[in-house]
């Protein structure tokens, strides 16, 4: 498999899509930090921390992975070069995992690009960290695991949908769906348990009615299940990091490990049996 990884890395180094993604993500990190800084100067009195910008672009990595991995691996199918690997005796397992590891490494490089550039510019503008060093390291580890999950999902799509264009769209739509699902769950979980039965605005100000149970509130077992799914979804973790919401972060790593395993198995098993033209 090392031969295949060596060949993949060599191709990755020349892949213009990868370098465009890297440039886009790092430039985006710098621009985003600067815009935050400008906003903080004008409107915000509360202090802004480095972490506020550090994880801000993180959810974007799902879509960047979807585009880059589908295009990078899709080339192997569009130009039929995957045959050159099979014909000379590499097994499908070797090919799958060589691509899997290469794309994972590339996705992590993109992540480090975001973290380093966001971190450096964030520190330059805001100077103060909110979290302890160990907490920060833990969250970066969560980001790494989450990125590995995104990458595994995209590799699964790219290795099983043998048309580059369809693979890009399918992976992008899937990411959009799990992002939407995570956003919906975030909204549902943020609903207050009690709410006012009426709110009246008069000349004297806002008049609140009686506190009543909120029908939109998700409670009991349903809440626990929803929280579990929300935390399990890589997009759910990304949204929580983006919102600096770390209440249940201790379970993120093992949930990511489970999702990573599922995504890998679901990507690998069909590829092992699929006919290649």
């Amino acid at each position: 498999m090392t031969k295949l990884i060596s060949a993949n890395v060599s191709r990755l180094r020349k892949d213009i899509v990868f370098w465009l993604a890297m440039f886009g993500m790092t430039a985006g990190s710098v621009i985003f930090s600067y815009l935050n800084y400008q906003t903080s100067l004008r409107y915000i009195s509360d202090p802004i921390y480095v972490e506020d910008v550090l994880f801000n672009l993180f959810p974007m990595i799902a879509f960047v992975c979807a585009a880059f991995i589908s295009l990078h691996l899709g080339t192997e199918f569009d130009e039929n070069t995957i045959r050159n690997k099979l014909i000379v005796g590499h097994t499908r397992t070797e090919i799958f995992f060589a691509n899997y590891l290469t794309c994972m490494a590339a996705s992590l490089l993109l992540l480090f690009g975001i973290l380093i550039f966001s971190g450096v510019t964030g520190y330059y503008f805001f100077k103060v960290f909110m979290l302890e060093k160990t907490q920060l390291v833990f969250l970066i580890l969560c980001c790494i695991l989450c990125t590995m999950v995104f990458s595994a999902i995209c590799v699964g799509f790219a290795m099983n949908i043998h048309k580059k264009a369809i693979s890009v769209v399918a992976a992008g739509i899937f990411m959009l769906c799990i992002l939407y699902l995570a956003s919906y769950m975030e909204g549902a979980l943020l609903e207050a348990e009690m709410t006012y039965d009426s709110v009246t605005i008069t000349m004297d100000g806002v008049q609140y009615g009686d506190l009543v149970p909120n029908p939109a509130y998700v409670g009991g077992t349903a809440r626990k299940v929803m929280e579990f799914i929300y935390d399990m979804l890589p997009t759910g973790q990304a949204i929580q990091m983006n919102n600096m919401s770390f209440e249940r972060c201790l379970r993120w790593p093992w949930l990511s490990a489970v999702t990573l395993t599922i995504a890998t198995v679901l990507g690998y098993l069909p590829f092992r049996r699929r006919d290649i033209k």
Binding site: S10, K14, E79, N80, R83, N84, I87, V88, D275
Partner: protein
């Protein structure tokens, strides 16, 4: 006889369509094996199976004596190279970079031999030109160079002359002959351009509807293809009387043309015809080609 590849009742089914139906074939070592069949006969399917791109649904094959179900079949595949349908090349890379990439896939320690390979296929002057800007013939030759990168002794070529211009076809034929004669590479070449194949092949396998119709050597084919004498006369009724008298096999084509399937003494024939008041206008020796032999075996029409 040593066989590089043998298939045993090989079958491949795609949903409700049987692309290969109990195909049995034998590719002898050192041969140029012409694999002949109509479009959709199953030629490419067989090549995909032996290259490991797809798995058979019935039967099996052996490559260098290794069964396809044996885990070590991958080792046998390291001794083969193939170009299946379109050449498998990275369009955004130069010819040299494509070969370097294949060297890495093969795990070769260095890039020694790339210049020779490029020279062998006539792509040594392509420099920094990317493969996407190559002509079809150049792409085909680069595909062959990639297939040759691992120094294989079995080369599988699927319709290598498809879309090539006449010059490209001649170059491709010369290259295949060179590889077979000078490098002792066994070649399995599928084609439906029978005339082209007949200039190369030492053995033939004729396939139709996923089944092997006939396997034979070039010598056997030559014997099977009847030579005939195409004659033009003023009156074929008189000609028929003369040929019946001589006890020869013939076929009347029109009022003035006929084919005689025998060695004929032209002087005797001319004199016999003169006695019947018939003149011999023209005589032409014709071979029954691979094409007509193929048609006689599988009939006309298409599988598409």
């Amino acid at each position: 006889m040593d066989y590089i590849l043998t298939t045993n009742a090989l079958g491949k089914q795609y949903k409700h369509f049987k692309a290969l139906n109990g195909l049995t074939m034998h590719v002898p070592k050192g041969a140029i094996y012409g694999f002949v069949g109509k479009n959709g006969a199953g030629k490419t399917t067989l090549i995909r199976l032996i290259c490991g791109l797809q798995e058979p649904t019935e039967g099996g094959f052996t490559l260098y004596g290794m069964n396809n179900t044996d885990k070590n079949i991958v080792k046998a595949r390291r001794r083969m190279g193939a170009v299946v349908e379109t050449p498998s090349i990275y369009l955004d890379m130069t010819a040299e970079d494509n070969l370097k990439q294949q060297y890495r896939i093969l795990g070769l320690p260095d890039f020694t031999g790339i210049d020779e390979l490029l020279k062998m296929v006539g792509l040594e002057h392509t420099g920094k030109k990317k493969a996407k800007n190559f002509s079809l013939g150049m792409k085909q030759r680069l595909g062959i160079a990639i297939a040759l990168a691992g120094d294989p002794d079995f080369l599988v070529l699927d319709e290598p002359t498809n879309g090539l211009d006449p010059q490209g076809i001649i170059e491709m034929r010369d290259l295949i002959l060179k590889l077979n004669r000078e490098h002792q590479i066994t070649v399995l070449i599928s084609s439906h351009i029978l005339d082209e194949l007949s200039r190369l092949a030492t053995h033939y396998g004729i396939i139709d509807n996923g089944r092997m119709v006939k396997e034979l050597s070039a010598t056997e084919l030559e014997a099977a293809c009847r030579k005939c004498l195409h004659v033009e006369v003023t009156n074929t009724i008189a000609l028929a009387r003369v040929l019946d008298g001589m006890g020869l096999d013939y076929k009347i084509l029109s009022q003035t043309e006929a084919d005689i399937f025998a060695k004929v003494n032209i002087s005797q024939l001319t004199m016999a015809l003169a006695k019947e008041g018939c003149e011999l206008i023209a005589v032409q020796e014709r071979d029954e080609s691979l094409e007509s032999y193929f048609i006689s075996l599988v009939g006309g029409g298409s599988n598409d």
